[in-house]
Symmetry: C2
Subunit: 334 residues, 2 copies
């Protein structure tokens, strides 16, 4: 048994920037010191992109996560059966979506079996999934289905800024209409379960309002008084350190200055706008509420720059680090 967690990194679409940012991040000695990374991906693709870089770890074909524990200055890659893929940077090829999906599925299995401690995902393409007739529109829906998870929430973490989204990929009108007390309590609970691992000292959650000025006592909407405040009060009674609802336009600045270490955002852009603005390359996407630990880069396949050697690996670096943070106290998280 090793004390270093095994982190399964899925390569994502091999015609996107996944293989390149994996190559770049793995030469970071810190990463290899604090975890045993394995790649679920394709050796050919790894080499195709990495040979354009100054330096990269030599790949070794492995079949199980445990084999990686014996490697030194090499990176274990699990290919499954997908060895002859069509590497064409920037091109959508449904075959790549099929292999990317298989790698994700295998990572989920090994995380569920605790043979891997966490999984970190590189980007896949929604269009490729659709063309391959894969019945999911992205990682989150796959992961929820395969782990049989009903309540999960999309979060963005960047340094001391952490946002959990109450609703995500739906129209703003639907997002407003679907807000209810029961689900909001669940969101706050899911957020708190993560926060107490990351910030065991003085965790405090700020809950955003939905309307301008948090509704200004009902002047600009009643959701704060009718739904959000009652949900906060219930969570407080359960012992969750949370408060609000606060005016959405200043809550993120207040978190930035340390008043909260997590914010519950009511809808996608309420949380994404500040995080994308301030996080720059540090942003990490994390699906909370799953029975496994999964973090992800905060960007897409970036087909336009794939293979050019200019993709930035910072988000992947932070995604791996955050996954490791969660594994350290995994028992409290899952």
């Amino acid at each position: 048994m090793t004390s270093k967690p095994i982190i399964a990194i899925t390569m994502g679409d091999i015609n996107g920037i996944g293989p390149e940012i994996i190559g770049k991040v793995l030469i970071n000695k810190e990463i290899n010191k604090i975890c045993t990374p394995i790649i679920l991906g394709n050796i050919q693709a790894y080499l195709y992109y990495c040979k354009k870089l100054k330096k990269y770890l030599e790949p070794v074909k492995i079949n199980t996560p445990e084999e990686a524990l014996k490697l030194k200055n090499k990176i274990g890659i699990i290919e499954l059966e997908y060895t002859n893929l069509n590497i064409k940077p920037g091109i959508i090829d449904p075959q790549n979506s099929i292999s990317a999906t298989a790698w994700i599925r295998q990572a989920v299995k090994w995380c569920t079996q605790k043979r891997c401690d966490a999984m970190v995902t590189c980007p896949i393409t929604k269009e490729g999934l659709a063309r391959a007739k894969i019945p999911y529109d992205g990682h989150t829906t796959m992961l929820a289905d395969w782990t049989k998870t009903k309540h999960y929430r999309m979060s963005l973490f960047a340094g001391n800024m952490r946002v959990v989204h109450h609703t995500a990929h739906k129209s703003l009108l639907n997002a407003i209409q679907s807000i209810n007390k029961k689900d909001l309590i669940k969101t706050i609970e899911i957020g708190y379960n993560a926060l107490k691992i990351i910030c065991p000292r003085n965790p405090h959650i700020g809950v955003a309002g939905l309307n301008p000025h948090a509704g200004e006592q009902g002047l600009f909407g009643n959701e704060e008084l009718d739904i959000i405040l009652p949900a906060i009060n219930t969570c407080k009674k359960k012992g969750i350190p949370c408060s609000g609802p606060y005016p959405p336009d200043t809550i993120f600045r207040r978190m930035y200055h340390g008043e909260f270490n997590m914010v519950i955002a009511m809808y996608h852009d309420q949380g994404h706008i500040p995080m994308k603005l301030i996080a720059m390359d540090e942003g990490v996407n994390i699906t909370l509420g799953l029975p496994i630990i999964r973090t992800s880069v905060d960007h897409g396949t970036a087909f336009d720059i794939a293979g050019k050697g200019i993709a930035c690996e910072q988000s992947l670096y932070h995604a791996i680090k955050l996954a490791i943070q969660f594994t350290k106290k995994k028992d409290r998280f899952v």
Copy 2:
């Protein structure tokens, strides 16, 4: 005649931080070099707060804006009839709201008569207005009414970040339901009329979507396809350099990096969240579409710190500078 514009600064609520930040900003030599400021306010209040500061300009009672042109190293204050007010930092007193409103009204008159070139407002209190039974909830509604303006828009400017809000103080649900093509065209036009003064070279307006990912081709809402895109196309035909709708979560970052020099936000918090996060003390509120130039500080009365000498005058400084920028090419603006 002088080439320096006369800027009417209204003191706002004398129990808030208005008098103090005015005192602080006026000792900035740059301000006195580029404009002739006058205060519409109360001499007693000015002295009460300024005597706590290290340095301040000596006040002189004047009755008309023109008298200020002769002053040197002194500041002209127009009191109207309000000379015996109750100065109690942090306390809401309806009498103060009445005087603050009278000062604003006089500034509007002088701007309309072109005896002042622009007005810059310090904060008033909504609760005070209500208690004084003044039939307005803030500056914007007063200004619109007194200048008989139907189409005006709230904007926030901070350095190279400029946001014009399509809707402002209404619930998010109402904001969504009230978006229509005709009004959106007006918003873009109002924004452009301001932008071409401030950025005559290569002005470009980015228009935000309403929904996550700007609706992703109708997947998360249809407002982009049904309303926003057609409005943009109409504006393009009118010669306005604009494009979009863009995903709301990255458009502000793109403006920050110079891709746009103005963004049209669909609702209050879409624009306020990024601006409050990144602008810090530089933010300026400006009402666009009025026949006069009016800028404002981007904060409230801050009753909790009034009279403590710690209020920051940076927003007022930038509000004055922005007002001056507009006056220089006033003919194109009004």
